[in-house]
């Protein structure tokens, strides 16, 4: 059972952007993403929004599907900037990997 942690947003902000907090889970990013399977990238944004760090680290390989085409960021109706959030999450994962 994953734990929710609002302080994660600060971590993510330092890694690039915390705009993912404004996501309302509409799934437009999933629909537009040319490479995604399943619920990528929405689910990763959701994990970030909740601060579910262990889920992010567990499923970190998903992040490297992203080629940063920017379509999700262009189409996001909330301006949550999913592409930039994915990039920040990659930095967070790498930093966590280094520490462990």
């Amino acid at each position: 059972m994953a734990q929710v942690n609002p302080d994660f947003m600060e971590t993510l902000r330092q890694a690039g952007t915390d705009t993912g907090a404004e996501c309302n889970n509409c799934g437009t990013c999933v629909a537009i993403c040319p490479l995604a399977e399943g619920h990528f990238p929405r689910l990763m944004l959701r994990y970030a929004q909740l601060g579910a760090q262990e889920l992010i680290l567990d499923q970190a390989q998903e992040l490297w599907r992203c080629l940063h085409c920017g379509l999700c960021t262009q189409t996001c109706p909330r301006g949550a900037n999913p592409g930039e959030v994915i990039l920040a999450l990659k930095r967070f994962v790498v930093a966590s990997w280094r520490r462990s």
Partner: protein, 717 residues
């Protein structure tokens, strides 16, 4: 008092051809309204019919195939044309259309007919349509009979059986129509006064609107305060007006209005009368003590641990274990029109209070507006940890706290001296309950309705917390979000921008509120299977849980019994028609306003209250009202005064015995109060002398119908 005026010659052209039988028996309308109804009506009618025999017009509707696909309408028409007493028989594709109605009106104007039968759909749809057409053509709208050959025939029978049944029903209607009298509507004098029960926003709005239209209004409020549930609110969704300002303004207008008398600390304990002339008994509630009110409010839900330490009315940064009540000096300083959060605007003492007369007071009124409001759902002990954990409270309490501490900002929300780092709001508590999933209350009832306002109220509270206390995180655990009104969707979007985190649960897998394991730094955690994270189980450690409790029906059982009010399956008071007559009750002259009817927000409450006010004013505007004349009438010659009908009468006061002079002797006779008579016929069934009848539904008319149903008809099985 009411008056029956039969045989208004102006409304019955057939009658005008006959000389007046006895002018003394035909009092002109609008006079002598205290007189008994015209008791010689049946004799007159017999003479009328001798002079102007019934000529029945029968009009049969195809209903665009709805009827004619199963009933051979033309065959029925031919059969009806051959029946005795039927002057014309016609068909039309849609009788309710203008050309259809014109058929009837033309035959009436040409004098070909003087009674009308339309065979079509249910009378609840179009009886009024055809009565109105008759009146427009100068006929008497009560010389009309409706045969339902759609719901009762073509929708349930087919082929020859359908055609034959339609023939029987129309034939019976024509038989009855031949005996229909030229009735006139009951005319009831109406007091231009209104009583509004309930001093919340609905009652205040309705009282003000009626008073502005020149109606004298008496506003009855159980407590000493005006404002109802709105008095407990702060910044209102979606745009943030201040509830207290709104209430001060509205209550101030009511208190200053010369047309409104506020009767606070009173309840309705007796009811009688009828539209235009109701009588209500008002009893004083126990000795009013404003201080007691304040304490009672602070201790509402005192059995709940959460509320045993009531939310501070003082600045919350003052840590205090003591239940902080209003300063005891406050009530003596309170002046009429003053506002106290949680209670409302102080109402004046009653006009008659000075006399120390504590007895009940009887008031007479033309109409009644019910604005008795709702109750906020009280969670069961243990429901989402309520009453077992001091960190669980209801959303209304949180909203009141936010209102009380509105001037405060700071990184963290502070409640009872405790900093709140994370707040969870759980939606749909006590609303949208599902049989088999939720537990019934003591009376075996579930609240299956959506309370409609709690989504907006929760999101509004979340936005306030996030904007005033940016370090306090807010989680909204919801089933579905219903932000349906103007500006509410924007408010919902703003919550996302404010970084309120939404988690979605399903009704059969509700969140669990439990003590957080030691060492985690939070008193509670909420475990939820989140639909937005593909059913991931999540733990949300929190400092405070607010339960978005819904609206449940108010405690109005006594009023329901007294006024015989209809109550819906959801136990809210139920209107006549949810779409077309949304503020009316079957009891004429009694109207619904506000949340006694259903959950609604303040704007909707005011719409309903203003609608009720307009309906009431329209009824009273002429100083009298007209009712359908289908009520009992006594034949004094045949009546023996045995009283069986009085014992059988279902509506107290509609029938009584009176002593009167008849042929030089004093005798006892049954007497009908027409405005109270339900027209049910219970009296007719028990009268041993056949001395009482229902106008428009007389025994002779029933016999004519039965004769036509059982007689041999050519070609009909």
């Amino acid at each position: 008092m009411a008056e029956r005026t039969n045989h208004n010659p102006a409304q019955a052209p057939a009658d005008s051809q006959a000389p007046a039988h006895n002018p003394a028996k035909n009092p002109p309308p609008a006079q002598n309204h205290d007189q008994a109804p015209d008791r010689n009506h049946d004799h007159d009618q017999a003479q009328d019919q001798a002079q102007d025999p019934a000529r029945v017009g029968v009009y049969i509707c195809y209903c665009g195939g709805n009827i004619s696909d199963h009933v051979d309408v033309e065959a029925v028409r031919a059969r009806m044309a051959a029946q005795p007493g039927v002057a014309v028989a016609r068909t039309n594709m849609f009788m309710c259309s203008d050309p259809g109605q014109e058929l009837i009106m033309e035959d009436l104007r040409a004098g070909r007919i003087n009674r009308v039968v339309v065979a079509s759909c249910s009378p609840s749809l179009h009886e009024g349509t055809f009565r109105s057409a008759i009146a427009r053509a100068g006929g008497n709208p009560y010389q009309y009979e409706h045969a339902n050959i759609r719901e009762q025939v073509s929708w349930v029978h087919h082929g020859q059986a359908a055609t034959d049944k339609a023939t029987r029903l129309i034939s019976a209607a024509a038989g009855k129509a031949g005996l229909l009298d030229a009735l006139s509507p009951l005319r009831v004098e109406a007091l231009r006064r209104a009583v509004v029960i309930g001093g919340g926003v609905a009652g205040l709005r309705a009282a003000l609107d009626m008073a502005d239209s020149g109606i004298q209004v008496l506003l009855v409020e159980r407590t000493a305060w005006l404002g109802g549930a709105v008095a407990r609110l702060g910044r209102l969704a979606p745009v943030g007006e201040d509830a207290s300002g709104l209430l001060r303004g509205l209550a101030g207008q009511v208190l200053a209005h010369p047309g409104v008398t506020v009767h606070a600390r009173a309840v309705v304990s007796g009811f009688g009368g009828y539209l235009g002339n109701f009588s209500l008994t008002l009893s004083r509630t126990p000795d009013p003590d404003v201080n007691a009110d304040v304490n009672a409010d602070a201790n509402a839900n005192a059995d709940a641990v959460a509320d045993a330490a009531p939310l501070s009315k003082m600045p919350s940064k003052t840590p205090s274990k003591m239940p902080s009540k209003m300063p005891s000096k406050m009530p003596s300083k309170m002046t009429v029109g003053g506002f106290v959060r949680g209670l409302g605007v102080l109402a004046p003492t009653q006009p008659d209070a000075a006399s120390q007369d504590q007895g009940p007071l009887t008031v007479r009124t033309g109409v009644i507006v019910l604005a008795t409001g709702h109750r906020s759902y009280t969670p069961k002990r243990g429901e989402y940890g309520y009453a077992e954990n001091p960190e669980v409270l209801t959303l209304p309490r949180l909203i009141q706290h936010l209102a009380d501490t509105e001037a405060e900002t700071g990184p963290l929300l502070v409640l009872n001296g405790r900093a709140i780092r994370r707040l969870a709001i759980i939606h749909c508590v006590g609303s949208r309950q599902i049989p088999g999933i939720h537990q019934e209350d003591e009376s075996g009832c579930l609240n299956e309705h959506c309370s409609r306002v709690c989504c907006a109220a929760s999101i509004n509270a979340a936005n306030q917390v996030r904007e005033r206390h940016p370090q306090t995180s807010v989680y909204e655990l919801y089933r579905d979000i219903r932000t349906y009104g103007r500006g509410q969707e924007e408010m919902y979007a703003k919550a996302a921008a404010n970084r309120v985190v939404f988690l979605r649960y399903s009704a059969d897998d509700a969140p669990e509120v439990r003590r957080c394991p030691a060492g985690q730094g939070f008193p509670l955690e909420v475990a939820v299977r989140d639909g937005l994270t593909l059913g991931q189980e999540l733990r949300v450690p929190v400092d405070l849980v607010a339960l978005a409790t819904g609206m449940v029906p108010g405690p109005v059982a006594e009023l329901v019994d007294m006024l015989k009010l209809p109550v819906g399956a959801d136990r809210f008071l139920q209107e006549v028609h949810p779409k077309l007559r949304p503020v009316e009750l079957p009891l004429p002259g009694v109207f619904l306003a506000g949340t006694c009817q259903a959950p609604m927000d303040i704007g909707e409450v005011c719409s309903a209250a203003s609608a009720a006010a307009v309906k009431a004013v329209a009824l009273l505007s002429k100083g009298h009202v007209e009712l359908d004349p289908f009520v009992a009438e006594v034949d004094e010659q045949a009546c023996t005064g045995c009283g069986a009908c009085v014992a059988a009468c279902l509506n107290k006061g509609a029938l009584g015995l009176e002593t009167l002079e008849l042929d030089g002797a004093m005798v006892s006779r049954a007497r009908v109060t027409p405005a109270l008579c339900l027209g049910c016929g219970a009296c007719v069934a028990v009268c041993p002398e056949y001395a009482i009848d229902i106008n428009g539904w007389t025994l002779a008319q029933y016999e004519a119908m039965v004769d036509r149903i059982v007689c041999r008809l050519e070609g009909v099985a």
